[in-house]
């Protein structure tokens, strides 16, 4: 089948090997699990346990505070040693529940649903919500919210995002290769909740094994098909994916549902399957530990709340002096400074850059080469946005569609003057948000 793509974007070094060909292995249980109350977009959870409480694996420990929120569960059985603030990948200390595992793994899962496709979609949606599912591609948007489009926005197509366009990461790839049945079962449920019987699995052509595995599995899931995509970053962005597959553009300021499409990550689909067929809440995820600074890169099935340092230890630790430890991929990931932060629902990768690979380059003035304009998948003008933001002209930047930026980082990647355009743009966006919230 012909592979498709979107205009703009970049071709970074993907560096998916050698970790792409390593099977997922089970991570060991650390001595302490830190369950953050903020693991999703939306209101933080309210802790339901207190110090000294016994918790079971899968037990609800933080309840959702509002519709756009997702509950959190304990990933181990054990004793709560404190309910306090702990380091969060975002850089601050946020409320969390710290559990000392007892090694028993005593379970408290929900009731499995045997034949979900005979159930009322509402029950399934409720299950997705109770399981605490969020978008596991990195955005961490609560899944049940996406499964509840307003009635005036009919959904006619579901896309399943297996593009994994971020360099280095292979968590989606591995899941598609090793558990195609689980992934497709989850997709079927997601489509069913939206009232559909079919779906399109989008995979970039640099993952031929995944394409093969899913295509084969699709034979037993009528209505589902694989759409190969040309390799390009940021193809996994919802708007770019929709543009690549259908040639449709999501209206400016709108959401994918505004053009009748909904997009789910393949790992999220795997988790939907677990939640429905096994009653298992979201307490583990597949995370890639990779980069040239790691001794033996690996794909690990990790209990949420495991510290990053524990993951690194299991991969043989650092191979060279580390420079950056990044949660997520190199294009949009967050560089952390504290290795005690826990794995969250959205952390699909831990990337270690050795010190000698860390960019330490001053930046020069814009020479107007236009590389950023050609690379911008949103057809914005990063050069001018950067200049305005650098001069603190927030309103001028806002007038030039600043808020349409999705911070994919293409402009910064291609800038020959090493201008930190995304940094400028983020700063300006924060200022605009500040101004808007004052009104």
């Amino acid at each position: 089948m012909r592979s498709v793509t979107f205009p703009g974007g970049i071709h970074p070094d993907y560096e998916k090997e050698p970790v792409a060909s390593r099977t997922i292995r089970e991570s060991t249980v650390p001595e302490r699990i830190v369950i953050q109350m903020t693991q999703h977009v939306g209101a933080p959870c309210r802790p339901l346990v207190k110090k000294g409480d016994k918790v079971k694996m899968g037990q609800l420990v933080g309840e959702a505070a509002g519709f756009v929120s997702a509950p959190v569960h304990s990933s181990v059985s054990g004793r709560v040693i404190s309910v306090d603030r702990a380091p969060h990948p975002l850089g601050m200390e946020l409320p969390s529940i710290i559990v000392e595992p007892d090694g028993e793994d005593e379970r408290e899962f929900m009731e499995p649903i045997e034949n979900p496709l005979d159930e009322d979609p509402k029950i399934l949606k409720e299950r997705v919500k109770d399981a605490g599912l969020v978008g596991m591609g990195g955005a961490a948007f609560p899944t049940h919210v996406k499964l509840s489009p307003p009635p005036d926005k009919p959904i006619d197509t579901v896309l399943f995002n297996g593009t994994e366009c971020e360099p280095y990461l292979t968590a989606d790839d591995r899941v598609m290769r090793e558990m195609p049945n689980r992934v497709l079962k989850g997709m079927q449920i997601a489509a069913y909740i939206l009232g559909l019987r079919e779906g399109v699995v989008c995979i970039e052509t640099n993952k031929p094994e995944a394409i093969e595995a899913i295509s084969k599995e699709c034979e037993s899931f009528p209505g589902f098909r694989v759409q190969p995509l040309e390799v390009k970053y940021p193809q996994g962005g919802e708007k770019q994916l929709i543009q690549a597959v259908f040639g449709r553009e999501v209206p400016a300021g709108g959401l994918p549902m505004d053009c009748g499409v909904m997009v789910f990550n393949v790992n999220t689909c795997g988790a939907i399957c677990d939640a429905v067929y096994e009653g298992r809440p979201l307490i583990t995820r597949i995370t890639t530990v990779t980069g040239h600074g790691v001794q033996t890169p690996a794909n690990l099935r990790v209990r949420l709340g495991t510290s990053i340092s524990h993951l690194l230890d299991q991969c043989g630790g650092f191979s060279r002096e580390p420079g950056k430890v990044i949660l997520g991929g190199p294009m949009m990931g967050v560089a952390i400074h504290d290795l005690s932060v826990p794995v969250l629902k959205s952390v699909g990768g831990v990337l270690v850059q050795p010190r000698d690979e860390v960019l330490d380059q001053g930046y020069g003035p814009c020479i107007r080469c236009g590389n950023c304009v050609r690379a911008c998948p949103m057809r914005l003008i990063p050069n001018e946005l950067g200049n305005y933001a650098e001069k603190r002209l927030w309103e001028e930047a806002e007038d030039r569609d600043l808020m349409d930026c999705m911070e994919c980082g293409c402009c910064t990647y291609v800038c020959p003057a090493f201008r930190p355009l995304i940094h400028f743009i983020r700063t300006a966006r924060a200022k605009v948000h500040e101004k808007r919230s004052k009104k």
Partner: protein
């Protein structure tokens, strides 16, 4: 335990108590960092590597701790990787792409050309360094931008141009056209062209004294009809001599008119009928050092296009517009107006279209704007060439269009994603 605490204060504190204790045990081993990282088992290797590589005073040498010290990590905003493009790479690539034209210039005009080029490049670099030093700015001459400006200026001067003229040109290019406006990226006008036009107005004789190419001199000058009576033989003092056996020894330089004014002013003498296009294409014509060979310039320009350093928009729009106007006028009066090929291969059109008009800083950024820019250049150039007071209009038209660049940019910004309509589109959110 004291070692432990010092490590903690310098590093970023992490980790669970269990591992911290382990670390203390290890610190007691007094192992040297190097030997540990090389020889011990992998788990210990991890710990060794995790030790922050901090300088320890000599007195503390024996106390180097292989303790549980976390690495000092760099934290910055994404993206964490960068492409291979850099400003120096772009500048030096353009520089290299100009070398074929440079080589043709030196081949055609000899040492006189080499001296002009070397003076311009060298002085541009030195002036930029001095100016940046004077203004207490970072000296950035290694980025190649000053060298490129110098080379472009040299290529736009006639061979044998006096050295002091070259120096004034460099100073104007680097100092006035560029540094005054804030340096790289801030100059509204192309520095090399600004300098050239400055020199053309200030030193009109020096800038319009066109030596014939070596080949033309060997062949006894170009056809008289073609160049009219303008071919002159001068001695080293610049005095005009008659070409006869008595003066043969004294002749130092032979100058003539470039094809453009010859055709423009002397068309009645039938100069149009003597055009040898192959001579023009290969650079056997008087003119600026770098502009004479369309072949060499096309070669360099093509490389830039293929490498993606310039886009096709400006050169193509420029060349197309020139060809269009030349064709129409040529059809109206073939005896008076030369055809498109003549206009393409003479004057500074090729070097202008591929190397000067495409200068990032002074040309529009967006594709539509580039097309408009090229169109404007073509119109202005032909207006000046056919009916203006000067025989050549590439420099003036580029400067004029440079002035229009901010305006063009403003009206040709791309439409952002999500404004295109498709069948069945629903109204977007907020």
């Amino acid at each position: 335990m004291s070692e432990k605490t010092t490590e903690k204060t310098t590093g970023v504190a992490i980790d669970d108590p269990g591992r911290a204790e382990e670390g203390v045990v290890r610190s007691g081993e007094n192992a040297k960092r190097e030997s540990v990282s090389d020889e011990k088992a992998s788990e210990e290797k991890v710990r060794a590597k995790k030790v922050r590589q901090e300088k320890v005073g000599e007195d503390k040498e024996s106390k180097i701790s292989v303790a549980e010290a976390p690495p000092l990590l760099v934290s910055s905003t994404s993206p964490h990787v960068h492409g291979t493009e850099t400003v120096p790479k772009i500048m030096w690539t353009v520089f290299v792409c100009l070398l074929p034209a440079t080589a043709v210039g030196v081949y055609r005009f000899g040492m006189d050309a080499a001296v002009v080029l070397a003076t311009c490049v060298g002085s541009a670099i030195i002036f930029e360094a001095v100016i940046q030093r004077l203004f207490k700015k970072e000296v950035t001459v290694s980025d190649g931008s000053a060298a490129l400006t110098g080379l472009l200026l040299g290529l736009n001067l006639p061979a044998g141009c006096p050295i002091y003229v070259c120096l004034v040109g460099s100073l104007v290019a680097v100092g006035i056209a560029k540094a005054v406006f804030g340096g790289l990226g801030h100059n509204p006008f192309n520095p090399a062209i600004t300098a050239r036009v400055f020199l053309l107005i200030s030193f009109p004789v020096a800038l319009t004294t066109w030596p014939l190419t070596n080949q033309q001199v060997r062949e006894g000058g170009p056809p008289v009809q073609y160049f009219g009576s303008r071919t002159t033989w001068k001695d080293s003092g610049g005095r005009v001599l008659k070409q006869d056996s008595a003066n043969a020894e004294k002749i130092d330089v032979v100058t003539g008119a470039t094809p453009l004014p010859a055709v423009k002013n002397d068309y009645k003498k039938g100069s149009l009928s003597h055009i040898n296009y192959m001579d023009l294409f290969l650079g056997n014509q008087p003119g600026c050092i770098g502009e004479i060979s369309a072949l060499a310039l096309l070669l360099g320009g093509l490389v830039l296009l293929l490498m993606g350093y310039i886009t096709w928009h400006i050169p193509l729009a420029y060349l197309f517009t020139v060809a269009l106007i030349a064709s129409v006028t040529h059809m109206i009066d073939p005896g008076r107006y030369a055809g498109p090929l003549f206009h393409w291969f003479t004057g500074g059109l090729m070097i202008g279209a591929f190397f000067m008009a495409t200068d990032y800083v002074t040309s529009p950024v967006y594709p539509k704007g580039k097309l408009l820019f090229g169109l404007g250049l073509g119109l202005l150039t032909m207006l000046i060439r056919l009916w203006g007071g000067y025989p050549e209009g590439v420099s003036f038209s580029i400067l004029l269009m440079n002035a229009a660049t901010p305006l063009i940019d403003r009206f040709t910004r791309p439409k952002k994603y999500g404004l295109k309509r498709w069948a069945g589109a629903q109204q977007g959110g907020n």
